[in-house]
């Protein structure tokens, strides 16, 4: 494997593979597709990394294992990309065909501890190569990064950017604790005033209450000033809810 660390700050887009055929296509034909009309805010990167979902065999699923350099983004219809399926309902839809270099294995796989679903994650090569698990990939405000570091130091198994409801992926808890007797959602209310200026709006309260979430609202300033204190509060809350659930090996829905 080349020395990827030379391009430490290179942007990486972690994409989701729901079908082993897509990984085979990336490896053998050198491309991956992103639909134009459903593309995330950020698509441009020097590398794509591939998150393999439950559609992959045991030992490969729920993890990032491969990376490929990006050579180009070209627009094509699905019919042009996959001529064998000319009558597909989306045959006329347009896609970015992301041209790729050779797939390279990461030095170590990056698993999702909770076997969860994710969407695209923009990150950097530094983060990718240093990540122990999926939650290490997100790059958020300084305040969130401090809390994340404090939670990890305290061995609190939190999840980041956790969807509050599967059918509304744009509404996420910045941190989630899945406990035996309940679920805690940490919402950083004024996140938009820090680096991540244009984040989606915080989730509305009805989503939190309807989903039986216990909401903990916090400001960036408060988080930055006292990440250890907030970690202690979260540990207390998790303890009151009979502790964080151990990883079961079943996908989290």
């Amino acid at each position: 494997m080349r020395d990827l660390s030379e391009q430490a700050l290179s942007p990486v887009l972690v994409v989701v593979l729901n079908d082993p055929a897509d990984l085979a296509r990336a490896r053998e034909q050198g491309w991956y597709r992103i639909p134009l009309d459903r593309a995330p805010r950020r698509i441009a990167a020097e590398y794509l990394a591939f998150y393999q979902t439950g559609a992959f065999p045991p030992g490969e699923r729920w993890s990032v294992r491969w990376i490929a350099s990006v050579r180009g983004y070209h627009i094509a219809t699905r019919r042009e990309l996959i001529p064998a399926e000319p009558d597909h309902p989306r045959a006329d839809d347009r896609y970015y065909r992301v041209e790729l270099g050779a797939l390279e294995p990461l030095p170590h796989a990056i698993p999702s501890r909770w076997l969860r679903r994710i969407t695209f994650i923009p990150t950097t090569l530094t983060r990718l190569l240093g990540a122990v698990e999926i939650n290490d990939l997100w790059i958020k405000s300084t305040a969130q990064e401090r809390l994340w570091a404090a939670l990890k130091q305290a061995d609190v198994e939190a999840e980041r950017q956790y969807p509050l409801r599967e059918d509304l992926p744009e509404y996420v808890a910045d941190f989630a604790l899945i406990c035996r007797q309940g679920k805690v959602a940490v919402i950083v209310d004024d996140e938009s005033r820090e680096e991540d200026e244009l984040r989606e709006a915080p989730p509305p309260d009805y989503l939190l209450t309807a989903g039986d979430w216990i909401a903990m609202h916090v400001s960036c300033a408060s988080l930055s000033a006292d990440p250890g204190g907030w970690t202690a509060r979260l540990i207390d809350l998790a303890t009151a809810l009979d502790g964080v659930l151990p990883v079961t090996g079943s996908p989290v829905r």
């Binding site: 805010r41 950020r42 441009a44 350099s69 180009g72 627009i75 094509a76 041209e99 244009l198």
Partner: protein, 316 residues
């Protein structure tokens, strides 16, 4: 009136302006256009409707020893059309301002030819995006080379030899040491090229003693009816600059040059400038300051506070 900023968004530092990889890593215009797409999404959300794109969107595209990069513009016809569609949808005014190595009036035919090639490429990118006539490539006159009149004439002659699409897209800006507003007006009279006024350059180099209002009005008048002119605005950097010396030498305070751009726009200079321009033809303003979109946001707030009547004229 629109306010724009230059190339690299600082509010969103994770957004790149173009594919800056070296040739060994296979950079490509299509990757730059994907970065641009992400930048445009930010511009739309931040309600910024004027933006100067990186002149390095198409890496190595005119490099004489790398023919494998020469076909990028043609290879990206669909992607250029799509990014242009997004720009029009957002009401974005776009431009290029190539670096100092583009010298159309060079007496060195090879350099002048290379410069023409670079300008042709940038014009082709704007045409590929199907942008209107407000989207321009702004360049400077170039060097004096010991003979001002010959240098001016050479620019005019070389302009006439440019491709039609490049002539149509090119705009000319005066500079701070060599060629003033009178010089670019001379070129305009012979070529019809549109002129871009720069407030700081005019303060620094104004041999004809034209008032800023006279010089601005003259530049604005070179733009066709129905096409909004654009001007450049910056404040001079006033901070002292310390040069770090070797381990055994004391740091030196460098003499300032007023041509250095400040981090932010001095709002009071800006307000005075707009008041001075009242009654003239309306124009857009590209902010050439180091804090880029941070400065643009700050200026909006400053105008709302110190000159709300002028703030109301801002678009986007």
């Amino acid at each position: 009136m629109r306010l724009g900023f230059v190339v690299k968004p600082l509010v969103r530092p994770e957004l790149k302006s173009h594919d800056s990889r070296r040739w060994q890593n296979h950079p490509h215009l299509s990757v730059s256009l994907a970065y641009l797409r992400d930048v445009f999404a930010y511009l739309g959300e931040a309600q910024i409707s004027m933006y100067r794109m990186s002149s390095d969107l198409a890496p190595y595209v005119t490099h004489p020893e790398m023919p494998e990069f020469h076909g990028q513009v043609a290879e990206c016809a669909a992607e250029l059309a799509e990014i242009g569609r997004q720009a029009r949808q957002l009401g974005l005014r776009l431009s290029f301002h190539p670096a100092q190595h583009v010298v159309l009036n060079s007496p060195d035919d090879a350099l002048a030819g290379k410069s023409a090639g670079d300008l042709n490429t940038l014009a082709a990118l704007l045409d590929g995006m199907e942008l209107g006539p407000e989207a321009v490539v702004v360049t400077h006159l170039g060097g004096v080379y010991g003979d001002r009149e010959a240098a001016l004439a050479r620019f005019a002659t070389n302009f006439e030899h440019l491709a039609e699409i490049t002539q149509r897209r090119l705009a000319l800006e005066h500079d701070d040491t060599r060629f003033g507003v009178a010089d670019i007006m001379w070129v305009h009279a012979r070529t019809g090229i549109r002129l871009v006024f720069d407030n700081l350059h005019h303060r620094l180099y104004n041999p004809g003693d034209r008032t800023p209002r006279e010089a601005l009005a003259a530049c604005l008048a070179t733009w066709p009816a129905g096409v909004w002119p654009k001007v450049h605005f910056s404040s001079p950097r006033t901070e002292w600059l310390v040069e770090t010396a070797g381990a055994d030498e004391a740091p030196q305070v460098r003499r300032t040059r007023w041509a250095y751009h400040a981090d932010y726009v001095n709002p009071f200079e800006f307000i005075d400038f707009l008041r001075m321009a009242q009654g003239l033809r309306a124009f857009d303003i590209m902010l050439e300051v180091r804090a880029k979109d941070l400065a643009l946001q700050q200026l909006r707030e400053d105008l709302s506070r110190f000159a709300p009547d002028l703030a109301e004229t801002l678009m986007g």
